[in-house]
């Protein structure tokens, strides 16, 4: 019995240590001098909460949550706001975290990530004077601003670039954990590629999480082996594995959310940008100036909420006429001539309207 117990114990221990090892490296603790007691009404206070992802380890590999934090820091420097950050460890933390921040008198509480949906739905009515912002999901409460993005539109454009640049006629897509949100990326990407080359072959794969860099690399190499010469990863940190694989083997990766072109200059063809920082800062600024916009705000191409990176390192290899074509597609999306599909099913039959 004891032997077995020790086996179990050592398994637990290994698992715990593995978790510690996998966890993103320590973000330098919030540098601000946090005033813990609720201040008087004069200071404008903003709290940002992350879901399970947390902040990135370093500047180069910034992700989605980091963009939210950028916006909050901008509010600190430009609006003189007092800011704090609270990173959750598990889903059950989300609601207490929202309550904690709301009850401590923060004027604006930002929840970055759709996982906040339920918790914010429950908490927002209890603190009607607090302004809540949720990113990537919608919460139908009078004091909540729901910021959503047309990821499919941005993905459409990078899909078009990928199809135009592919030598093999095969490109790849890698998702993190399957969800309706990630499907939007995939659908847009497929549709955009089909707009340039209706015969393009798009390989799709999911790593099942947003953290496992090695899994991202492995999946990318598999797709590379099947002929894909450009791979787009909408998979959080797994995408770093995609970029690494591309760099090692001399093909292209496409980054996501932030401008990831600089992680491996020349190997990242472009990045699909999701301007979370713009959206969140606008919303905070609105709250600061007294015209907080509640309800759903969609940040699409027209609103400048999504797009692709300026291709600092790859400008020269991309034919100018391809970029012209892509810009043309962007215009047509903005005009409403092209409606980018949000499901893979629709995307697979997408035909560019005449």
């Amino acid at each position: 019995m004891n032997k077995k117990l020790y086996l179990v114990l050592s398994l637990v221990l290994v698992a715990t240590l593995a978790l510690t090892a996998c966890a993103p490296k320590e973000e330098a603790a919030p540098a601000e001098d946090v005033v813990e007691e609720a201040a008087d009404g004069d200071t404008f206070k903003v709290a940002m909460l992350t879901d399970l992802g947390g902040l990135a380890a370093s500047e180069e590999v910034k992700g989605f949550s980091d963009l939210g934090w950028d916006a909050v820091k901008q509010a600190e420097s430009e609006l003189g706001a007092e800011v704090t950050l609270l990173e959750a460890k598990e889903l059950a933390d989300l609601e207490p975290n929202l309550i904690k921040m709301a009850s401590e008198g923060y004027d604006v509480v930002v929840g970055v990530g759709y996982l906040f949906t339920d918790a914010m739905n429950a908490v927002a009515p209890q603190y009607p004077d607090t302004k809540f912002i949720i990113v990537d999901s919608t919460v139908d409460q009078p004091n909540v601003a729901s910021l959503v993005f047309a990821e499919e539109q941005g993905s459409f454009l990078v899909g078009a670039i990928a199809a135009g640049m592919s030598q093999t006629g095969t490109i790849g897509f890698i998702g993190g954990m399957e969800s309706a949100l990630i499907e939007k990326f995939e659908a847009g990407y497929i549709a955009g590629a089909r707009a340039i080359n209706p015969d393009i072959k798009v390989l799709s794969g999911y790593t099942g999480n947003f953290t496992d860099v090695a899994a991202g690399k492995e999946l990318t190499l598999t797709q590379y082996g099947q002929g894909a010469d450009i791979v787009y990863a909408a998979a959080g940190s797994c995408g770093l594995g995609t970029i690494e694989a591309a760099k090692d083997n001399g093909f292209y990766a496409i980054g996501v959310d932030t401008n990831q072109d600089g992680i491996a200059p020349g190997s990242v063809l472009t990045s699909m940008l999701k301007h979370v920082e713009v959206a969140v800062f606008n919303s905070i600024k609105g709250a600061y100036e007294g015209n907080f916009v509640t309800g759903i705000t969609t940040y699409d191409l027209a609103a400048g909420g999504v797009g692709y990176s300026p291709m600092e390192y790859t400008k020269d290899v991309v034919p100018a006429d391809l970029l012209t074509t892509v810009d043309g597609l962007a215009t047509r999306i903005i005009n409403g001539e092209i409606v980018v599909p949000t499901t893979v099913e629709e995307a697979n039959t997408f035909v560019l309207p005449e």
Binding site: L11, E27, D118
Partner: protein
């Protein structure tokens, strides 16, 4: 002096565990101090975050609930030589089953809530019977089989919320359960829900079963010595199968209580690894039902206290995972402490003499 010695000797396992936990915190304190962070400050925020006011205490208790129930799930297995490392998977399936019953079925609360909780327990228990069958009929080591069975459970629930159960919005989850299937919140503005009573019942049930019934006696006999149990007419395989089922059922119940009391639906990734934590909780709790409550309180407080600590004292949350690891390490190494402990309270020679006499 003699009575003091006796007092400490009699409770050796308990005190050693306490010492192990205290030492773990001490080591964490040293790490904090070595990285220029004030450990006392950290402790202050930790305690405040866990128990500083009614809200924090209530939230801590809400974390203790799943940890305790899942810890008891591991305990009832381990007491019968069944090392169920598959609690996570059973918990997820139980949560899923109860969530489905919670939103599909329409019944008055006094029927709906029990039905919802029982369905979670039943599904968890049935899933626990797979490794039971593998073990007692095919001789497959249950540690391996239960670990492996966590994966199908995780991905099955994942698949269900993504592809099968259609809902509005982007959150991968089932629809919300009916109000009649919810465990009421006990303190408004906190997550403390009536599942705490379910937890108390589970603890009492486990204690009563293991120490007051013939069945529990037989399970423990199997746990300590299968050969002797068999020699004395105890149907070893049957008891182990039952332990597998019960362990899985309590795991499923833990998941169902989380759904009914906290999330009100099955949310993908809702469990932060309660199933794995349950093992640590049960072992630190010395495989005793009341010990499990104490150890679950410790680990629950770790979860809530650390949040506050990371906000106000600038200690990164990764260090908190380390605290967990260090506690497990020290508890695992407590046999080493045991020798020293015995020497302190017996004197070296008496310890050796007892060893010799007991040979």
């Amino acid at each position: 002096m003699h009575t003091i010695r006796k007092f400490f000797l009699k409770r050796q396992p308990v005190f050693i565990t306490v010492i192990a936990v205290v030492l773990a915190f001490f080591v964490v304190g040293i790490i904090l101090a070595a990285t220029d962070r004030n450990p006392f400050n950290a402790v202050y925020y930790f305690v405040r975050g866990a128990f500083g006011n009614v809200v924090n205490t209530a939230d801590t208790i809400s974390r203790v609930i799943p940890l305790t129930i899942a810890g008891i799930a591991f305990l009832v297995g381990a007491q019968c030589a069944v090392f169920n490392v598959g609690i996570e998977g059973q918990l997820l399936l139980g949560a899923m089953a109860s969530a489905i019953v919670g939103y599909v079925v329409k019944l008055p609360a006094y029927l709906h809530l029990p039905l919802m909780l029982l369905s979670g327990a039943l599904v968890g228990g049935l899933y626990g019977l797979i490794p039971a069958w593998l073990k007692t009929k095919r001789g497959v080591n249950e540690i391996l089989s239960t670990i492996m069975l966590n994966y199908p459970a995780t991905y099955l629930t994942h698949f269900l919320v993504l592809k099968v159960i259609p809902i509005e919005g982007v959150v991968p989850a089932t629809p919300f359960i009916e109000d009649t299937a919810r465990l009421p919140i006990l303190i408004e503005g906190t997550q403390l829900h009536a599942g705490v009573f379910v937890m108390i019942l589970v603890v009492i049930f486990a204690y009563f079963l293991l120490y007051k019934t013939s069945l529990g006696y037989e399970m423990r006999a199997v746990g300590y010595n299968k050969t002797a149990a068999r020699f004395h007419g105890i149907p070893v395989e049957k008891r182990m199968n039952f332990a597998f089922f019960l362990s899985g059922a309590l795991a499923g119940l833990a998941g169902a209580v989380e759904v009914a009391g906290v999330h009100y639906r099955f949310l993908d990734q809702f469990s932060p690894g309660y199933g794995y934590d349950s093992i640590t909780v049960a072992l630190v709790g010395l495989l005793n039902p009341f010990g499990v409550v104490i150890s679950a309180t410790l680990f629950g407080a770790l979860k809530t206290g650390i949040l506050e600590m990371s906000v106000y004292s600038g200690i990164p949350r990764q260090l908190t995972t380390l605290i967990n690891g260090i506690v497990v390490l020290f508890v695992a190494a407590k046999d080493i402490l045991g020798g020293g402990y015995a020497r302190i309270f017996r004197g070296k020679d008496t310890y050796e003499a007892e060893k010799e006499i007991s040979q």
